[in-house]
Symmetry: C2
């Protein structure tokens, strides 16, 4: 189906619905949240009563977004919707275990940018773009929906979180044209970036400082790693979400090809791998029953942190040396 036909079919279904549910994926990120909130606003502009569902709620960092306070993590027993729309979920299971969108709604639409999307819905608008927000924006333009300041805030948040603020390779001409258009809608980008990037917790800075002051490198400096112990977590009062970005800082060192973060947990070690150029860290993670993408992958490995570190480093060094 061409996008034009797809968009027409989506339009028809938005128009005939009386009520709808929009759903984000579990462990929700900026893209799924920003896209779902925008979709809810679009539905309301069509006069559709809309429920926004997130099994895991909304992380505090996104609480500033319009409608964020309307998000629910459960729906009333036996309630039924005309329409369900999943945003940024590559498979129906990504929406969570506590809801079955197929059962609670008569019709299901899937809007996503992941190329490995399983096309699980009645209508699947799946297009490889920087973000689901960018797909949704294309739909909005087709539907001639006036992007207001609130929608722009949600779409921009989604866009910058999925492109590393325009730093990842997925940033395209369309991405920048969309950003320009969102600014035309009266968007205050400074407010968004302050909320997203300038609200770090003190424990998150403290744990990053501790971790990076103890970083180590292979002799040729192509591999860099650091270990976060349970003791360090306790002393800095850091939580799991405070560790975001530490491995990327390590990766930013000149000459580094692979950066590794080892996090000690009870009886196991969480492994986080980042690659700068050609090393495929997903292949390395799969040796330890993990997975991910070429340049960002992870695994959870049984054992104590010293043993795991040595096992992983042996494998990583093989890949970097070849």
């Amino acid at each position: 189906m061409t996008n034009k036909k797809l968009f027409e079919t989506i339009k028809k279904n938005l128009k005939k619905a009386d009520n709808a549910i929009v759903a984000v994926h579990v462990d929700p990120d900026g893209d799924t949240i920003g896209s779902a909130l925008t979709m809810a606003m679009v539905l309301e502009s069509f006069g559709v009563a809309t429920t926004i569902y997130s099994e895991d709620g909304i992380p505090e960092i996104y609480h500033f977004l319009p409608l964020a306070e309307k998000v629910v993590n459960k729906i009333a027993y036996k309630v039924h919707f005309d329409l369900a729309i999943a945003l940024d979920a590559s498979d129906i299971s990504r929406v969570g275990e506590k809801i079955n969108l197929r059962e609670v709604a008569s019709f299901l639409i899937n809007i996503d940018h992941h190329p490995d999307n399983t096309n699980y819905a009645d209508i699947n608008y799946v297009e490889k773009r920087s973000s689901t927000a960018e797909c949704l924006y294309q739909l909005c333009k087709y539907l001639k929906i006036k992007i207001n300041k609130e929608m722009a805030a949600c779409l921009y948040t989604a866009l910058i979180t999925d492109t590393g603020n325009f730093r990842y390779e997925n940033t395209s001409v369309d991405t920048f044209l969309m950003a320009a258009d969102l600014l035309r809608a009266g968007l205050n980008t400074h407010e968004i970036t302050t909320n997203i990037y300038d609200t770090r917790s003190i424990p998150s800075l403290r744990i990053a400082a501790r971790a990076l002051s103890q970083m180590e490198f292979s002799a040729d400096h192509k591999v860099g790693w650091t270990v976060i112990t349970k003791k360090m977590m306790a002393e800095t009062r850091a939580k799991g979400e405070d560790l975001i970005g530490i491995v990327d800082q390590l990766r930013s060192v000149k000459g580094i090809e692979v950066a590794i973060l080892f996090r000690e947990e009870k009886g196991k070690v969480k492994l986080n791998l980042r690659s700068k150029h050609d090393v495929n860290v997903s292949t390395i993670a799969s040796l330890f029953d993990g997975g991910g993408h070429n340049k960002a992958a992870g695994a959870i490995i049984e054992g104590n942190v010293e043993d795991v570190k040595n096992r992983v480093l042996t494998e990583v060094l093989k890949h970097v040396r070849v």
Copy 2:
């Protein structure tokens, strides 16, 4: 003069020149360098033999840019140019002490985005935009210059370094439209961002980690500060340029209004101030004979680090409390 008239006059002068010198400002940043290298390419497309001058050379981080290796920090005795163009220099003195553009060239053009530019040249194209690169891009569009991949790399580097990779308030609709257009020219943004953001030195990470592990806060957490001693610099082998970004990381803490970095030097202390919202840190810096912008300012203060710290904190706390 309207931009159209200005651009026509600039065009006329580019066309009639046989040789030219383009100059960056002292302590050159990405914007002045990227703009000067682009200007050199524009001049060469007009058949003008061009010298690129930088009194302080080119920082290593920008060595990857095309033509960077052609930059000189001195010119031959008694050489004379038809044309000189200063890029991103708000005053002629910003080009440095070792050259007098007025003397070495018959005609001087000034292209800049700083509103406080002193209009020191024969032609002054000064427009408040995100960067000098954005001004130069407007000129290139008017002159119908085909932006090639090399120019795009220089202009994009200039654009992202002066907008904090599209994070500062100076980012506008035009900024994003320019970025989109540079991508159309075949720009590899990933290559640029890797060169600019992923080439940190190990000492720079170590000193940041040390500094941030010792950060302190006022009781209400609105003011945060840290001290970098001579001992810390020696132990981490850090240089002055390795300290860039540390005060911004401190500023990124949730709730912080003013972030301060104190750097101990021989008999004096270098002060770096950042504000998140309404506090004007330039006013505070001026109390200590320093200066800067509303949200980023600095000073150099005689005295030992403990005394200076106490004096500065007293003033900062007054401003935050009001």
